[in-house]
């Protein structure tokens, strides 16, 4: 029975310290050290909620709480959850990068983790030298790498650049070489964290294909973390939904993904974005409001297919020293988080918005002249950056309800099941 279990996680906890680690740390350290010296157990030091009894303010948080699950051999388990749910922490503990605070993980087989591609690449060394270095860091021996060198070079497609220092590579080449090495690891268990988010579409497809191959044809176990429901759906048999550091549920992918998406629905959808806590980015600029308007600037609850609509966004400039270019984009997705289309000022206008030195807010209208969506409920993600650093990113910032409208002069529409998009077209006999 236990023979076909690859990973068994039992009562896993992981604690982090909040705030900066500075002069106060040494005082707390000495206090904790004394407590341990006097033979106090962990439960004396921390109370049930994970708050530190020894330290006045609860400066500690539990990133993982009482995690229990099993992964069978040869299974691809997708780990999903919102930002901050504890997915990456779980992967870090599983791959031994950081230790658990309590509990244990039993592992059957060699683990290789891929939290990043091309870890340890040295810019001065050539591609070939870096393949060996990176491979060895990931746990391969020299002989293993040598045997696979041709395959790796082939997969990465960097061919004649192999003996050029990596510092001359484009970022895409580095990623491809890094993934090529990782893809040729032969661990029994592979842990992957959203590495697919990098690289172009064709390369991503190749990566997914490779991972499928690794698991289905070679019988290896894969743990895969992603925000991209489409690739989770495609790759995984089973999924594990995490929420606030705990396991919300596990089961078949097709059962778990709707739960994940509903979790977002449960968060009340309102035009006020300041209350949304799960957001990425450094927060120098933050979205504060989003409203849906029709062509005449009237607020509307739902849009009609073919109608002119405006997405009215407001941003707060939180960092008073910020000025310069601002790239804003909206991404519309369907109920499975599959991207439908992507709008951005850089692409549509050809340039970014300029923010002045003493500006504190920014009001933006994004107008869609003829909404090309069939009836249904769509969601959108918001993103703002200066093309170098991400300021704010809100997944599932709101919903766009669309009802059938006069997209075509006939007033008729195809069934939403067969056509989410509406495209102008004419038919004639000739």
């Amino acid at each position: 029975m236990s023979k076909d279990i690859a990973i068994k996680v039992e009562g896993l906890f992981k604690q982090y310290r909040l705030g900066t680690i500075g002069a106060g740390t040494i005082k707390d350290d000495i206090k904790l050290w004394f407590a341990k010296l006097r033979g106090k157990s962990l439960s004396d030091i921390y109370d049930i909620d994970g708050n530190d009894r020894m330290v006045g303010d609860s400066e500690y948080v539990w990133a993982l709480q009482n995690i229990d699950f099993e992964v069978k051999k040869g299974e691809i388990l997708g780990i999903i959850g919102k930002n901050g749910a504890g997915k990456s922490t779980l992967l870090k503990v599983l791959s031994k990068v950081t230790g658990p605070t309590k509990g244990q993980i039993k592992v059957n087989g060699r683990i290789a983790s891929l939290l990043e591609v091309g870890t340890g690449f040295h810019p001065e060394l050539t591609g070939r030298e870096n393949v060996f270095l990176n491979g060895a860091i990931l746990g391969m021996t020299k002989v293993e790498i040598k045997a696979k060198l041709d395959e790796i070079v082939d997969f990465s497609g960097i061919g004649k650049y192999l003996d050029t220092p990596v510092k001359r590579y484009s970022s895409g080449m580095k990623v491809r070489l890094g993934f090529a090495v990782a893809a040729h690891l032969e661990p029994e268990i592979l842990i992957v964290d959203e590495v697919l988010a990098v690289g172009d579409a064709e390369f991503q497809k190749r990566c997914i294909g490779k991972m499928n191959d690794v698991s289905k044809n070679q019988g290896r176990t894969v743990l895969f973390v992603s925000h991209n429901m489409a690739s989770v759906m495609e790759l995984c048999d089973r999924a594990l939904l995490m929420q606030n550091g705990t396991v919300h549920s596990t089961g078949k992918v097709t059962d778990i993904i709707p739960l994940y998406l509903n979790a977002f629905k449960a968060e009340e959808i309102s035009s006020d974005l300041t209350k949304i806590k799960t957001r990425a980015g450094n927060g120098k600029v933050k979205f504060s409001r989003v409203e849906l308007l029709d062509g005449l600037d009237n607020e509307i609850d739902f849009a009609l297919s073919g109608q002119t609509i405006k997405m009215r966004l407001a941003c707060d400039i939180i960092d008073p020293t910020f000025f310069g270019k601002l790239h804003v984009s909206i991404k519309f997705v369907d109920e499975n988080d599959v991207t439908l289309f992507h709008l951005s000022n850089s692409v549509s206008n050809g340039n970014e918005f300029e923010v002045n030195r003493d500006q504190s807010t920014l009001n933006i209208d994004c107008e869609i002249e003829k909404l090309p969506l069939n009836s249904g409920v769509y969601k959108f993600h918001l993103f703002v950056s200066n093309l170098q650093e991400v300021f704010d990113e809100i997944n599932f910032a709101g919903e766009l309800k669309v009802e059938g409208g006069n997209f075509f002069p006939t007033g008729k529409l195809p069934s939403p099941q067969v056509s989410k998009f509406l495209v102008d077209n004419t038919w004639k006999l000739r």
């Binding site: 990068v97 950081t98 039993k106 870890t119 040295h122 001065e124 270095l133 060895a136 860091i137």
Partner: protein, 288 residues
Amino acid sequence: MSEENWTEVIKPQRKVFGLGFKELIKYKDLIFLFVRRDFVAFYKQTVLGPFWYVLQPLMQTAVYSIMFGSIFDISKETGVPSILFYLIGTVSWWYFSQSLIKTANTFTANAHIFGKVYFPRLTVPVSVLLSNLIGFGIQFMLFVCFFAYFAFTGETSFSHALPNLWKIPLLVIIMAVLGLGMGLIISSLTTKYKDFKQFIGFGVQLLMFASPVIIPLSIVYKRFPPWTHFILEYNPMTGVIEGFRSIFFAEYDFDWGGIGYTASFALVMFVLGILLFNKTEQNFVDTV
């Protein structure tokens, strides 16, 4: 509980003492690749290449010989040509200080890699010791060349040095263990308290002035106040440097007591270092 054969069990505290020697052996290829990386990256895109290893002690020796050699009249005082006196001092100090400084950087300099992949963390300091050994070897050859020249002119002689050569590996091992131990302690503390990073740079330099690299012991005893003798005698590197000199120069005696002190000091540092390192290793990613 059932008797299951797990390859590995990940627990809150992995090990307190122990080097994880088996794991290190498993990752020996990685160690050698790290050594290669450090060595190759050191002279990539330089004209002089590995010659830089030689140039540094050479310049340092020249400066010391010109300045301190005449101030303290080294040749007369010790009976050893001042170039040889300073060269052996700087070369052995180089190995110790480089090993210490680079080992002390283990966690902070590799935080990025350590935060993404697990491999035995001790591979990094071990590879530092080995790659420094290459540099030390090159520099030592330089010393041997100079020594041969002075033997040719009759100021030194091989007949004293040859029967003592076996002590060289002993001294190198003591230096390596000492540098590793102290480096591990500092690197472990640096993960939480960055103060040590500021300290290590000039701390090593201060330690050099408190060793007989520049000023011969005999002069210290003659001209410096008694409290400085105390510092010099308890500096663990004093024994090693004097030891190297005694191997090559008949004027020096090999002080087994001093070496014994240094060796036991190194061992204590090493044990302490490993303890701290093991304690830090598992969770340092959270605090660094």
